[in-house]
């Protein structure tokens, strides 16, 4: 009879212990997924390195991809395009030719969106378009709109970031060419906090499988996802807690314009969007992360923008001299540009199924 009491006490102890653990588990799960606890989770090996390819130059950038080919532009050889067959590792050196040979340009950027390629310069401004395989670039837009960033989203539309003449602030917009060229700007998407130019600086991303566009802020923890008409804007935050851009601006003179006067706190370096997932490379360290390893690894955080959740993180090896510059998702591959190297990684499917 006394033993009965003891057993009840034991049972009580056991079930309380189990209960406490389960509650802890459930609430921790909740917090990590939805709150800004800012601690990362690293599942083992969500990506597997396939191979590195030495390109010989560090001036290559990702211009685009189709199913098995990656196209790389080169900022110091602006009319040169490198095609890399990701399966066979064959490379093809291509030369683009403008229809108008006397074309003057300042900073060319090439983007590939199969079956077209686009040659763009936002400072002149002009956009040329040509077919892959023909390699001749014909005029597509000339002089209609200046832009600082541009990303073709289909054969007739190019998403841009420019300065609105109305608000004098950075603005997202779209250049469309149907009968003629039309430019549409939406000044409400980017919300200024300091000057509306530097503080909202960021990167354009586009997911061709779902036709969703992304805008990744460099200096705040926000990223935007919108459809291909720049409407239905979804605002999401990263696991970082920096809401306001931490940059200090100085105006030296009217001619020189505004300059950043102190090193800014960069929250997000570069990103990619694919399916329901947003991939963001960030050098910000979370809780319990050793601070000396950023010279060896580049951390990429994975978010599900549809659900508004942080999923997990993984890292790519790089060196201080050969830091990750940019990366993109091509099917189930992740391609990275670091130093002179192109890195190809296989994405393990079970981690990247967006609706698990």
């Amino acid at each position: 009879m006394n033993l009965k009491k003891v057993y009840i006490k034991l049972l009580g102890t056991l079930s309380t212990a189990v209960g406490v653990m389960i509650v802890l588990f459930l609430s921790s799960e909740q917090q990590v997924h939805y709150n800004n606890a800012f601690s990362r989770r690293y599942p083992p090996h969500p990506i597997i390195k396939k191979y590195y390819m030495d390109l010989g130059f560090n001036s290559y950038y990702i211009a685009g991809a189709d199913k098995n080919n990656l196209y790389l532009g080169n900022s110091t050889a602006p009319w040169h395009l490198l095609q890399v067959d990701l399966n066979t590792k064959d490379t093809f050196h291509l030369k683009l030719i403008p229809q108008n040979r006397d074309l003057s340009y300042r900073s060319l950027q090439i983007k590939v969106l199969s079956p077209y390629f686009f040659v763009m310069d936002g400072t002149i401004p002009f956009i040329l378009r040509g077919r892959l395989g023909e390699w001749r670039a014909d005029p597509w837009m000339y002089g209609r709109a200046y832009f600082s960033k541009a990303l073709p989203i289909d054969s007739n539309r190019i998403m841009i970031r420019t300065i609105s003449t109305q608000t004098q602030r950075a603005t997202l917009g779209m250049i469309t060419r149907e009968q003629g060229v039309s430019v549409h700007l939406d000044t409400t998407i980017l919300k200024p906090s300091i000057d509306g130019i530097m503080d909202v600086d960021g990167e354009l991303n586009y997911a061709h499988d779902t036709n969703m566009a992304g805008y990744l802020h460099f200096y705040t923890n926000e990223f935007l996802v919108m459809d291909n008409t720049l409407s239905q804007i979804i605002r999401r935050t990263t696991i970082d807690t920096t809401k306001w851009a931490q940059i200090r601006l100085a105006k030296k003179s009217r001619e020189q314009g505004v300059q950043i006067s102190a090193p800014p706190v960069i929250i997000s370096n570069t990103g990619a969007i694919a399916d329901d997932l947003m991939f963001i490379n960030s050098d910000r360290l979370g809780k319990n992360e050793p601070n000396n390893n950023l010279e060896e690894i580049a951390i990429i955080d994975v978010y599900n923008w549809k659900k508004g959740t942080y999923e997990f993180s993984f890292s790519l090896n790089h060196t201080k001299k050969e830091k990750l510059r940019e990366f993109d998702i091509v099917g189930n591959r992740l391609v990275s540009m670091q130093g002179n190297k192109l890195g190809i990684y296989h994405m393990v499917e079970k981690y990247f199924i967006s609706n698990k």
């Binding site: 006394n2 006490k9 056991l14 609430s27 921790s28 990362r40 050793p290």
Partner: protein
């Protein structure tokens, strides 16, 4: 009678000593490599959000339990607490293995060589031993106050 009386005395005592040694070892090895422990706890998939507090709580609790177990007058409480802690740890392992998004790289600290399954068996053994200790201790001490 004599033999069984002896077992009432020495069994709970040795169990307690065993547990105390285990706890002291576990806590000390955590503190010895505190930075590592902190990182591992933070990356454990279940406790991430509470890692800051737990990183101190766990070794302190282990030391306190060891003290309770070593002291004659607190041994019973100590054994109950041991069961609670061991059950929590076992539950944690089961949750990690079954319900977590991923299984963390088997963390070190205590008994690094053990796999997760071995760890569960190891824990269960300690729980069972502690329960036996409690039952013996309770049936030894309880009758006295109820008799008069």
């Amino acid at each position: 009678m004599k033999g069984s009386k002896k077992i009432y005395a020495w069994f709970p005592f040795s169990i307690s000593m065993l547990c105390a040694i285990l706890f002291i070892y576990a806590a000390t090895s955590k503190l010895m490599d505190f930075q590592q422990f902190k990182i591992q706890l933070g990356q454990s998939p279940i406790l991430t959000a509470y890692a800051d507090g737990l990183v101190w709580m766990v070794p302190i609790t282990e030391y306190v339990l060891a003290l309770l177990l070593l002291k004659d007058s607190f041994r019973l409480v100590g054994l109950y607490a041991t069961i609670a802690l061991m059950t929590m740890f076992t539950t944690y392992i089961i949750l990690v293995l079954n319900f977590s998004d991923y299984v963390p790289c088997s963390c070190g600290g205590v008994l690094e060589e053990l796999g997760w399954t071995e760890h569960i068996i190891f824990n269960l053994a300690f729980i069972v031993l502690s329960i036996m200790g409690i039952v013996l201790l309770e049936s030894k001490t309880k009758p006295k106050p109820t008799q008069p």
